[in-house]
Symmetry: C2
Subunit: 231 residues, 2 copies
Amino acid sequence: MKEAPNKCDCEKCDVKEMFYEHVEEQHIEVVCNIKIEKAFKKGDMIIEEGKPIESFIYLKSGLVKLFKHREDEKGQIIIIAKPFDFVNLLSVFSDTNYNYSVTALEDSVTCNLDLDYIKDMIRANGEFALSIMKKISKVSDTIILESLTVRKKNIHGRVAYILLFFADQIYEDKYFELPLNRREIAEFIGKTTENVIRTLSEFRKDGIIKIFGKFIEIVDKEKLQQISDFG
Amino acid sequence: MKEAPNKCDCEKCDVKEMFYEHVEEQHIEVVCNIKIEKAFKKGDMIIEEGKPIESFIYLKSGLVKLFKHREDEKGQIIIIAKPFDFVNLLSVFSDTNYNYSVTALEDSVTCNLDLDYIKDMIRANGEFALSIMKKISKVSDTIILESLTVRKKNIHGRVAYILLFFADQIYEDKYFELPLNRREIAEFIGKTTENVIRTLSEFRKDGIIKIFGKFIEIVDKEKLQQISDFG
DNA sequence: GTCATAGTATGATAAATATCATAACTTTAT
DNA sequence: ATAAAGTTATGATATTTATCATACTATGAC
């Protein structure tokens, strides 16, 4: 992890837009000055469960996973966050310490703003407050409703769902490199590693996907969608 | 459902406290005047999936369930909300329509505030905004983290967990009437009705609980806790 | 009351998934 | 280059859970 020079030059940054829309010019400059960018290598720990929440963290580039660590047993992945998602979406405003960890699945850069400063901005600017609430609620909603969606699927449905998630929402390509190993996919969908592997093999045998190690090519997307929807 | 006279006399109302702490006297009076109390009978629909979100709804008394309706299949219960929990915690600030329903499990009374009015208050008062965010985030966090907790348990663990949930968090008594039938418990923990019934029977045979129809008495709480923790 | 309906209960069986075992293949460290 | 460790893969088996079938019980409508 290393710190990078500060600039407010990211396109598509919702936070910046919120500021531009609702905050006066001189405050924006302050934000751009106090924000700290941090670069992480694949596998690096970005947030550690139990540590105090001191920053408002936003993903500028890369890909990260939020997960709960489990002593003996296997962990549980809560969500995969992509650029311009909040990284510390949970607990930021409701708790003092993180109750989940975040690590980088790919080389990633985060934007970090002092949480007290953001809180001051919220206090000072209700319109900004409303924008932040909207954004944060949206993320929580998505997690809750998607977890319900996944919960009712069998393992075929869940694996199909994950493959389509990466193809459509993350990489926007039917050919991509899985950022998770099979064990992590299992932790994400709540099934065992062996059965994830088995299911991928079955999809391969049925000609629905091609597997080259961590690289996946979706051959019959319609079929995969069908398995995801009805599985 | 019937409307009741408006008063701001509820003890323990977080919303009122938020107002008292952060809003000027004259505004509080306005809130108390515009708020509408609605009474619902057990089984009544409070919020219907798909309908527009127009109010900020707070549970004053009773017990409700939030759930997603599923056409053909069985539904899915998202959470049981008790008094002073927000009822429309999800989507209030992030969506225009409800994507879940709420019904009364017991006779219930809700406090309804015009959502646009609350939004105006948030815009006008950042400190109030921060209080609301804190409260809403807390509820979302709880749902997400508890669903992860439940997800890793087998059916014995899940049923034990639910029984302890009602005993400890809702009724604060080892003897209570289940507000859900067996099918609904199944919808809550994501298992089949038959297996919920079977598990309850096993707990009864093992002398862990006593069953009198919908009434449950927890006999060996320590054992039940153990099953919940390690099951 | 009694009829219909929903809810509770239990057993038998089928299906899904986990666990255990083993091996080939990859990556990492030395 | 090689050993060690981790990952992917597959089969055999055990366990868990769902499904199907069938009663029995409670509840509400008439």
